[in-house]
Structure formats: structure tokens, C-alpha cells
Symmetry: C2
Subunit: 103 residues, 2 copies
Amino acid sequence: MRQIKHPSIDQIELTDIMYALSDPTRLEIVARLANAGRKMTCGEFDLNRPKSSMSHHFKILRAAGLVETLIEGTEHMNALRVNEIEQKFPGVLQSVLQALHRS
Amino acid sequence: MRQIKHPSIDQIELTDIMYALSDPTRLEIVARLANAGRKMTCGEFDLNRPKSSMSHHFKILRAAGLVETLIEGTEHMNALRVNEIEQKFPGVLQSVLQALHRS
DNA sequence: TCCATAGTTCGAATATAATCGAACTATGGA
DNA sequence: TCCATAGTTCGATTATATTCGAACTATGGA
């Protein structure tokens, strides 16, 4: 059961995080993951976009270190790396999530 | 003494803030403005880039609502809009500045 | 073994951004 | 009025992103 590679905490760059969060689609994905508070498959996000586009956005979220994807069977389970990001950049992700929650 | 237009608080978008902060040069400008704690001219940032490039980055920082520029004589005085951003998106800018301070 | 499902990768088109020199604008001082 | 200074705007080049269909891969179930 081959798994996907993710950056380690010390490889995560603030600019990559900021960039990943500058796209409305990706921000929506992050918001839904945070609200759900559980792992979600790519298909669960019903954002009216083709699979290849969604895959592209997940790739960027993963590369930025925001999202962790575990392969379980035929599904890819995605989770926010809240604790790790919080450890490296305290308050950044939390405050962004709060801002999203208000709007 | 013509002044530059800036977005009002309610026109500021989170995605624009994130985007503006995803570039290393702009992040450096923001960090220096925060550290200085005072208004700075464009020329004070000695980032080894031509004037037109710096002007471009200031334009994006202004459009995002992060920086306010007041024309005083021949100089353009730039300041971070910390209080306003803090009001609209509590913690976002502060935590980013803290992250910059650590690295 | 065959098929459906879930998601990735590829490739090409289009859009957006970064970069920087050159020309321009506005102000203040000589 | 002339000039220097500070910064913007313009225009062209190059680089990077977004988008999406089509082909591909991996897994589990019939």
C-alpha cells in the first residue's frame, strides 16, 4: 500500500503556506477540512471542478505542508496538519481558519 | 498634494492578503516595516532591485490593504495597516510577523 | 480475471505574475 | 526656470499557474 510523500515540519516554508492559502478553491478545501474535523476523501468536496483540477489543488496543499493524504484502499483520505503547522507557525493557520469561519 | 487610494477595511480580502504575503520580497518589506515601527520610504528598503520592481511590489501590498502610502513632498511614506488588518482578521498578520521574527 | 471506483499524471491552451529598462510625473530647492 | 530626487507607469520578455480532457495506476469486489 504505497503512500504519498509529505514535507517534514522543518521543510515547510511560510511563503508556500501563504501561497497555498491565496486561492479561493484551496481556502475552501482547508475550511471544509477544518470544519469537518475528520479525514475526507477528495471526492467529498463537491466544488464543481473536474478531478484533475482538484488533484492539482491537493498537490499544492500537500507540497505546502498543509494537508496530509493517507491512501486507504482506493480512497485518499485528507487531513489538515493543524498541530504541526501550529507548532512551526503558531497562530497562523488558526487565525486564518477563524477568519474563514466569520465570513 | 495628491494622495494614493487605498482599499477600505471592508474591501480587504483574505485571499489578497495571503497572496501578497506569498512573495519573499514582499514578506521582507512587511517584516522591515513591522520591525521599524515607523513610516519608511520605498528607497529605504535596500533590496537590490530596480525601482520599477519595488514599485510593483508596493502596489500589490497596497492593493491587498497591507500597506498605506502617504505622499510627503517627493517621498512616499509607507506604513503597515496593522490595526485595521488586526480588526478585520484578528491574529493573521500578527502571527505571520511573529513567524518572520523567529526565522 | 474483469470491471468499477478514486485519484494522479500528462499535455496543451490560456491566464496571470515577475522582472526591468526607459520614459514619465510631481515635488522642492537652487 | 532649471535641475535633482522619489517614485510610478509603460511595454516587452520571461516565468509560473490554472484549467481541463484524456490516458493512466492502484485497489477492491464480483
